[in-house]
Amino acid sequence: MGPELRSWKEPHRLVLIAIGIGIIVFAAVNMRWDWLPRYSWRLVEGVGTTLWLLVLTSVLGFLLAVPLGLAQAAGPWLLAAPARAFCTVIRGTPLLLQLWLLYYGLGSLFAQYPEIRESWAWPYLRQAWPYGVLALTMSFAGYEGEVMRGAFAGVPKGELEAARAYGMSPLTSFRRIWLPRAIHRALPTLAGETVLQLKATPLVATITVVDVYAIISRVRQDTYLTYEPLLLLALIYMMLTGVLVLAFRWLEAKVPVKS
């Protein structure tokens, strides 16, 4: 990134930038954007839903990834095998299929049981977002669980032996040494995984969760426009990705990492 930023004043780049601005101006003038003010507030709300889904499922997914990684790296066979099977199935099937399995499959299954329909959970289970959260969380956990397995296995044995030599109990040494060192090792992959997770969130619109993608689909239905809403959507996601990448770069600069 450094040399590119440094040399943006090169003549050919100036020409390319001018062409880029020209395309944007052309799109702004010649395409239809009159719908934008009417939907602007809903778009902001949609971005809010997208970000809320991203943060919630990433955090929950990571919390789930820690035991999944630990079970695979050091657990007894009885724990390691199911954890490995979970990661393989999640990573081996499309997220869209998992999402539809949960929403249509589980959803229609739940509806058959009066016990569930009369329980306190039913008002939530009737809605779409719990299934979206569940699918996205499991997906993040599956991919990051594989990373955590490597991270746990890669912590040098000597450090754990040193912890034991100092008289730490297994739990203390896990809390003080093993877990922090493993998270430390997994940190560089976290930025990429989170960007992937952001790019996975629009799938929940296919099960009627109203995120920013769903709002844009609504615009497309209402106005019969094809390109303008989609181009705006691409721009929104690009900006969100950019913000995420910058945020993680800032975070990584805070945590000392031996390269």
Partner: protein, 243 residues
């Protein structure tokens, strides 16, 4: 609980012949695999071109390729698929009108291959660029000093040298390609995920069909993994073992 198990076990729905939906699912799988293979090959061609362009091209070409790979990797595949699907079919139709052939029906298969190919191309460009750069420069210079032509250098030194570095990334992208085909369900291509949903919607046995489709996808992944391990071992022969 009993009728739940009975509901799970209405296996005759998976029969291959028309009252059952097994044949439909397998046809969907065939479409998915065709799109994945086609898109992957198209992506590989774009990737080879993109990587050579990024490494040896002029400054303008390099910048344009940077914009391409950055854009594709920053926007969700679902959005890209919609944009490219509409833009691609529109552009082709206008081209046909321009040469006087009249608008044509573009098959979902061809459009899907195009879309997956463009997305894969961006990622493969990056993988191949990294692999090309991993070949020690001294080896290429030595080959030149022996009087090899650039084509011979490519065939004898660069390609075999980059392969071990490219295979893990390319293998990963193949697995992503097979799963990305599911997104084409959103634009109505009759691939495995969409036909599964149709089968589930018609019979109301969503659980059965989605599990069956999941198993099919999983089989593709697991079989691919076996093949990948073989290819990797072949590409890495003569190199020091990792771990």
């Amino acid at each position: 609980m009993l009728d739940w198990i009975a509901g799970l076990a209405s296996w005759e729905l998976l029969a291959l012949d028309p009252p059952g939906w097994g044949g439909v699912l397998l046809k969907g799988l065939a479409v998915s695999l065709q799109v994945a293979v086609g898109g992957y090959i198209l992506g590989f061609l774009i990737g080879v071109g993109g990587a050579t362009g990024k490494l040896y091209g002029g400054p303008i070409l390099r910048d344009i390729l940077d914009v391409y790979t950055t854009l594709v990797r920053a926007v969700p595949e679902l959005v890209l698929i919609l944009l490219l699907y509409y833009a691609g079919t529109d552009a082709l139709n206008q081209l046909m009108v321009l040469i006087g052939a009249g608008p044509m029906d573009i098959s979902g298969l061809a459009a899907g291959i195009f879309v997956i190919g463009v997305v894969q191309g961006a990622y493969q460009t990056e993988v191949l660029r990294g692999a090309f750069k991993a070949v020690p420069h001294g080896q290429i210079e030595a080959a030149r000093a022996y009087g090899m032509t650039s084509l011979q250098v490519l065939r004898r030194i660069t390609l075999p040298g980059m392969l071990p570095h490219a295979v893990p990334g390319l293998a990963n992208l193949w697995l992503i390609a097979t799963k990305d085909t599911a997104l084409l369900a959103v634009v109505g291509v009759a691939e495995l995920t969409l036909v599964t949903r149709q089968a589930g919607g018609t019979t109301k046995s969503y659980f059965l069909f989605f599990c069956a489709a999941g198993l099919l996808y999983l089989m593709v992944t697991l079989i691919s993994n076996v093949a990948i391990r073989r290819i990797e071992r072949h590409a890495r022969r003569g190199m020091p073992a990792v771990r």
